[in-house]
């Protein structure tokens, strides 16, 4: 019984990892079997969040001409196509289109006492009042309440958040802690339930108020299992069994972050930052249910109320005759109805219309706005792609260098700038872990780090080993680690704290001053210090492995190398191939992991590009590759590179190994990439309002570096903000098209892939990641307080797991407000250049992709290269897109565009012309 309940409850809980292992997820991933709008409405109830923006933001966009009437009509049309719960329109004398259009622009407030419309038309107003004299209406969207919480808060001003939650949070956070507090919780091995009961026992003599009720409960339940307790309490509520799940979910979602974390650490204990304590959701749930019930019982007793009447009570959202008249008045004006429309209607009919309009307003309005807004952007994007001069990508001769970027939307701009700076470089976009699914162990840290997308379980372990003398480094590293930990604990105690304060206190002014006033020198000084005491040794990756689970064999290496090359689909490999992994440096930032490479589990991709270059440069591996049917030219050299998306620095990990014959080309590439990175920094700076525009390109690079190393910086970079597209296809589709860092770019050449095996690899590797990122940003942006993490300013690290707001709160989920403040919540539009049938087959054949597509968690357009037709997936099938022949603005370079402060997302870059 309870097991079944738990089984259906678990997937509904938030799925976020502890922060050190943050990965972007569709936070409603477990709702993907539902239609998007249906799912967000359901989740909105659970999370108590708003699934779309507030309407005023959309109307603002409309006023700014970010969408047009055409978009709105289209959204309405679409809506009517599958869903027509239109109130008795014949009575109103409106067409559905008129109805929804006017509804979208209305500001109805039926049961809101504060916002009341001004009465301008006195005679109409009197008429309305007359019509509904003495009537009342209980709106049909009234909610059923399963427990006392809202009731106490509303009528007795008794807040759960000041009584129940502090206790619950204190217990669970101290139990889940893995080293942040000085004392480890001595109950760790015994389970949360026994901790809870013991705690109640200790508290008994000191309890009053609801706590007394709780401790009494604790005594009655001594010796019982949590399962028994939950069941007993559920029976006591008197709720029908069909509502038990909702009841438990409501309790769990009061502390949704902690509930999700408990579930996570129970089901995936390896995600814990250090070592997960023994924790079971059922223990935690039993404790919460007991507390909640104790609170209800206490209040019921104090206010002499019968609990059985409270449970399952309907919250009356009632309109009295005055409000009804107001509603009628608003309806008349909003829908521009003639004043006589209600003459022949009975008051019953009128009331039912009001109810329907009210429901429709709450259900449809924001949703329609959202659809219209999305549609506008998607159309703009597709038109830009269509209008873009395809086919100009013909290299006069073989490119001297090729760069494999990550598919990340943040690399779109760097790719573009690189091509503009040096027209003879060919670029590709592949998933940035380069097909290497490894656990990486660096020389700095014994902890294995999963360097692959979170959906893949790493199959191998790869060690980094020093090749030069590493003794000093290891000694220094160990010393640093031990002293860091020692200082952390011992500055916070009494006597050791006393000694530490007296000796180190004034000294701490030095690092504080440097870090606050001279952030850029901070890193420099740190490096100097490290070089002085323990220079990092030269290292090597042991990619070749013989033991099972360690390293890859030559054949496996060849397969990995070939897979990546196939995905990029170059005609021929150039002399230099640069693998540009990426990551992001930031300081004092609890969300650092969210800025890293999503394909490398949020870490920097350095080990991956290094490992790949090592594999691909190995002659034995090349021979194996040749056996598999592909020849890597002998002169081709693979360079392992790394792009820091925050500082726009580019590092080369194996530049010493570049053969002398390639030196000249390599230097040229390096030089040009540096220039491109500088332009990239300038482009990024356009979004930072604290950037001084007069300092130009040189100032930009300084500005972004300062951001990265500043401990006071809540926005080191804007991450994936404004991502909205994913384009799968050859670069000729997009080369020379300015896309304002809004698109993931995945290389795929359909001509070299007859059996669509590569298509499958590319789409499966990239699109779910893109959708996850997109959805994470979506929810954090539409309602940052409930789906996101709130402001970064008062965050408080807790239990090494996550953050709370202020001194104590729920464990926050999602992204912080400062990270998403410039994001436009738009569902991802994926554009694939491949024959339609192949794409269809691929999506139909993969369960998650199918859900994403058919339930509208993403949009899909297909450019069929064979028929030259463009298709868009609309309701449940593909429909051909008609274009209106837009004109893209042209600029000589992206830099030119940026300097003119062009506001549009898409533009043509015709360099040199």
């Amino acid at each position: 019984m309870l097991q079944d309940l738990l089984k259906s409850i678990r997937p509904k809980l938030p799925i976020q990892n502890p922060l050190h292992a943050f990965v972007h997820n569709n936070i409603l991933q477990t709702f993907e079997h539902l239609d998007f709008h249906e799912a967000v409405a359901q989740a909105g109830k659970l999370y108590r969040g708003r699934p779309y923006w507030e309407t005023y933001r959309y109307t603002q966009l409309y006023a700014d001409e970010k969408m047009t009437d055409a978009d709105i009509f289209r959204a309405v049309d679409h809506y009517l196509g599958r869903y027509a719960p239109v109130p008795s329109l014949s009575v109103l004398g409106l067409t559905p289109k008129e109805y929804f259009y006017r509804l979208m622009f209305s500001e109805l407030s039926f049961n809101d006492d504060e916002v009341q419309p001004k009465i301008t038309d006195q005679s109409l107003w009197e008429h309305c009042q007359e019509k509904v004299q003495g009537e009342a209406l209980v709106l049909s969207r009234s909610r059923t309440f399963l427990r006392g919480k809202e009731y106490w808060e509303k009528y007795y001003n008794e807040s759960y958040s000041t009584a129940l939650q502090p206790l619950a949070i204190r217990l669970i956070s101290s139990y889940l802690d893995q080293g942040q507090s000085f004392w480890a919780n001595p109950f760790r091995g015994q389970g949360f339930w026994s901790f809870f009961l013991y705690d109640l026992e200790v508290q008994t003599p000191y309890a009053n108020g609801w706590l007394q009720t709780l401790t009494q409960k604790g005594q009655t339940y001594r010796g019982q299992t949590p399962e028994q307790v939950i069941e007993a309490e559920l029976r006591l509520t008197g709720l029908p069994e069909s509502q038990w799940e909702d009841y438990l979910l409501e309790i769990l979602f009061d502390l949704k972050g902690w509930s999700g974390m408990v579930n996570k650490l129970e089901t995936e204990p390896w995600q814990a930052p250090v070592k997960a304590p023994e924790i079971r959701l059922v223990d935690y749930l039993a404790a919460l249910v007991m507390m909640d019930r104790a609170m209800d019982e206490f209040h019921a007793q104090a206010h002499s109320l019968d609990l059985s009447l409270l449970y399952g009570r309907r919250e009356p959202l009632e309109l009295r005759s005055y409000q009804l008249a107001l509603a009628l008045y608003q309806v008349t004006l909003t829908f521009k109805l003639p004043s006589r429309w209600m003459r022949d209607l009975s008051s019953r009919q009128l009331i039912s219309i009001i109810d329907e309009v009210d429901g429709s307003e709450h259900r449809d309005r924001a949703r329609l706005w959202h659809e219209a807004y999305e549609h506008h952007f998607h159309r703009e994007a597709l038109e830009a792609l269509k209008g873009h001069q395809v086919g100009q990508l013909t290299f006069a001769h073989r490119p001297y260098a090729q760069i494999m970027f990550c598919i990340d939307d943040r690399e779109e701009s760097l790719r573009r700038h690189t091509e503009e700076v040096d027209g003879e470089v060919e670029t590709f976009g592949v998933v940035g872990f380069f097909g290497i699914d490894m656990n990486f162990v660096s020389v700095k840290n014994k902890r294995p780090i999963a360097q692959c997308p979170p959906v893949i379980t790493p199959s191998r372990i790869i060690h980094e080993v020093p090749v030069s003398d590493a003794k000093a480094f290891q000694r220094w590293n160990l010393l640093r680690g031990t002293s860091d930990l020692g200082l952390y604990y011992n500055t916070r105690t009494l006597f050791r704290g006393f000694l530490a304060t007296l000796t180190l206190g004034v000294a701490s002014l030095i690092p504080m001053t440097i870090q606050v006033f001279f952030p850029r020198h901070n890193r420099f000084l740190r490096r100097k210090l490290r070089d002085l005491f323990g220079r990092e040794p030269e290292t090597e990756l042991q990619v070749l492995g013989t033991d099972p689970g360690v390293g890859y064999s030559h054949v496996e290496q060849a397969q990995i190398v070939l897979a990546v090359i196939r995905m990029c689909g170059p005609r021929e490999l150039a002399r230099l191939v640069l693998l540009l992994a990426h990551g992001s440096s930031s300081n004092n930032n609890p969300f650092r992991q969210a800025y890293g490479c999503g394909a490398c589990g949020g870490n920097a991709g350095i080990p991956n590009s290094r490992a790949f270059a090592k594999m691909a440069n190995d002659p034995i591996v090349r021979a194996e590759v040749e056996k598999l049917g592909y020849r890597i030219p002998e002169e081709t050299f693979f360079v392992a590179g790394f792009h820091d998306t925050c500082t726009d620095e580019i590092l080369y990990m194996n530049q010493k190994e570049v053969p002398a014959t390639h030196r000249e080309d390599f230097d040229r590439l390096k030089h040009h990439l540096k220039e491109a990175a500088q332009r990239n920094a300038f482009e990024r700076c356009q979004r930072f309002s604290s950037f001084d525009q007069t300092t130009g390109l040189a100032g930009a690079i300084g500005h972004v570096r300062e951001r990265a190393h500043d401990i006071a910086q809540p926005r080191p970079e804007y991450g994936h903000s404004s991502n909205a597209l994913a384009i799968v296809g050859r670069r000729r589709l997009t080369r020379g098209l300015f896309m304002n860092r809004r698109s993931f770019l995945l290389s795929y050449d359909w001509t070299t892939d007859p059996d669509s095996s590569v298509l499958r690899q590319v789409v499966l590797g990239g699109i779910p990641v893109a959708v996850n990122i997109n959805m994470d940003y979506y929810f954090s942006a539409v309602d940052n307080d409930n789906f996101g993490c709130g402001s970064k300013l008062p965050l408080n690290m807790t239990s090494l797991l996550g953050v709370m707001t202020g001194s104590q709160s729920d464990l926050r989920i999602g992204l912080a407000r400062q990270m998403v403040e410039i994001h436009d919540p738009i569902r991802n539009l994926t554009v694939i250049e491949a024959p339609l049938a192949r794409v269809q087959a691929l999506f139909d054949g993969h369960p998650r992709l199918k859900n994403l597509l058919y339930h509208h968690w993403m949009r899909l357009a297909v450019i069929d290269p064979e028929s030259q037709k463009w298709w868009m997936f609309s309701q449940s099938d593909f429909q051909e897109i008609s274009f209106e022949g837009p004109v893209l603005k042209g600029f000589t370079s992206s830099l030119d565009l940026l300097k003119r402060h062009e506001a549009s997302d898409f533009a043509e870059i015709n360099h040199g012309e």
Binding site: H20, S161, T162, R170, S173, S174, D177, Q180, S181, F182, W183, A184, N185, P186, Y198, V202, Y206, V274, K275, K444, N445, K446, R447, P448, R480, G481, T482, Y488, R492, T493, L494, G497, F498, A500, T501, L502, L504, G505, M512, T513, Q515, V516, F517, N588, I711, A712, P714, S791, L793, P794, L795, N796, M797, T798, S799, L800, G806, S807, Q808, E821
Partner: protein, 439 residues
């Protein structure tokens, strides 16, 4: 020269606040960038002033400077004197305050970028600075109280910085109640002192005592002052509000509860030290409070698992030690401890967001292996003892319960009164009904 330096020191922040207030009331929208630029120069200027003043006072120690401004107002016999004392204690504290607030201003420039409440934040921190300078240099309790209140107000308003959320407001209320209870101590101390000695002047009181003015009644001044210092310093029994006060932006928590506001308690005692030295019994009391608070806070702090609350308890325990140092007569050490402790805590608060990554990257912390620490606690006591101590400490040794009981005790007469009043009302109603009944 010191005289004019000091005049600048006290009037500049006032002028600065005046300018900010003018800007606010004239509804001029000051661009964030301009404000933070102005702040840069302002804080540099203030640090320069405070530094020069500190150097001058240091060179002339142990003599100190008295600065008198004309009286503010006069009521009957009472004159409100604007008299200041510039000594090493005040100058050091003022230097600490300007320096740390300078750091916080610079930090907030990026941290509160694009924040709608930035202006409010700056204004409140400016208020804090002015309040601290007044407290540092005032020569009498009457004057000190002004600065004391400004600091308290700024603190409460910054706890409730996010006033659209309920929790910050609740905790700000808690803070203000604690403050007010203890502020009564200052007022009572001032009244008592006026009554017995006709002055509250820190310079005059000790000389009066030296000349044999005495009597048991004078002990009460010290009792009240000790009482007054407790809330700001977060000492027992007024310590549960402090860990709950971490609701504002991190830099404001750092500057108030890691550094400047929390050390005002020991500062007040140091100001009064010459007086306290006459009453060893008071010093014993101060030492006891400090010792108990230190032990209490360190035990409770050991069970806390979030960064800021943990730091709050750590701060309380160190401030407790400073109380002990004062009680033992090590005033120099106490002052040094205050400065060094304030710096360390500010730094730790500001860097508290790095914690998770610091642990994650630490080579000593391994995956799936509990962090091994050789704790005396774990070696000396059995599990059952540890569990009991742990749970008690987790609940702050039920301090809130006991305070609640005490408050309920105070409220007992009120409850009795209310009960009787209710009965009377009932009777009254019946009587009226009876009189007005329809015949």
């Amino acid at each position: 020269m010191a005289n004019s330096l000091f005049t600048l020191m006290i009037f500049s922040p006032l002028l600065w606040m005046g300018v900010l207030a003018l800007l606010f009331f004239s509804q001029m929208k000051l661009a964030e960038e301009r404000l933070s630029n102005a702040l840069k120069y302002y804080s540099l200027y203030m640090v320069f002033l405070a530094l020069s003043l500190a150097v001058v006072t240091f060179l002339h120690r142990p003599s100190f400077l008295l600065v008198d401004f004309p009286d503010w107002f006069q009521v009957g016999d009472y004159e409100f004197k604007l008299r200041f004392i510039v000594d090493l204690l005040g100058a050091t504290y003022a230097l600490l305050a300007t320096a740390l607030i300078g750091v916080i201003f610079r930090f907030s420039r990026n941290y509160l970028h694009r924040e709608p409440g930035y202006f409010r934040f700056v204004f409140l921190l400016s208020t804090l600075l002015f309040g601290l300078i007044v407290v540092s240099f005032s020569r009498s309790i009457d004057l000190l109280f002004i600065g004391w209140e400004l600091v308290g107000t700024a603190s409460v308003l910054l706890i409730s910085y996010f006033y659209d959320k309920s929790q910050p407001v609740v905790h700000a209320t808690r803070a203000i109640i604690s403050y007010r209870i203890c502020d009564m101590g200052i007022l009572a101390g001032a009244a008592w002192s006026h009554h017995y000695l006709h002055t509250t002047d820190f310079v005059i009181i000790p000389t009066l005592l030296d000349h044999g003015h005495g009597g048991v009644g004078l002990v009460f001044i010290g009792l009240f002052i000790t009482w007054a210092s407790l809330a700001k310093a977060g000492q027992l029994p007024m310590c549960s509000w402090l860990p709950a006060a971490m609701e504002g932006p991190t830099p404001s928590s750092a500057i108030f509860y890691g550094a400047l506001s929390v050390h005002l308690g020991p500062f007040l005692l140091l100001r009064f030290y010459d007086y306290f030295a006459h009453f060893p019994i008071l010093l014993v009391l101060v030492g006891l409070i400090g010792g108990l608070s230190a032990i209490y806070a360190t035990l409770v702090g050991r069970t806390r698992s979030d960064a800021k609350t943990m730091l709050a308890y750590a701060t309380i325990s160190q401030v407790g030690l400073i109380y002990i140092e004062i009680a033992l007569g090590f005033t120099g050490l106490a002052l040094f401890h205050m400065v060094t402790h304030a710096s360390l805590r500010t730094y730790q608060f500001l860097r508290s967001s790095s914690l998770i990554q610091d642990f994650y990257e630490n080579p000593v912390v391994e995956h799936n292996k509990t962090i091994q620490r050789k704790l005396f606690f774990e070696r000396l006591f059995s599990v059952s003892v540890r569990q009991r101590v742990y749970v008690h400490a987790l609940h702050g040794f039920h301090l809130d319960y006991f305070t609640g009981r005490i408050i309920a005790g105070f409220l007992f007469p009120m409850r009795v009164y209310l009960k009787w009043e209710a009965r009377w009302m009932e009777f009254d109603t019946r009587l009226l009904k009876f009189l007005l009944r329809k015949k």
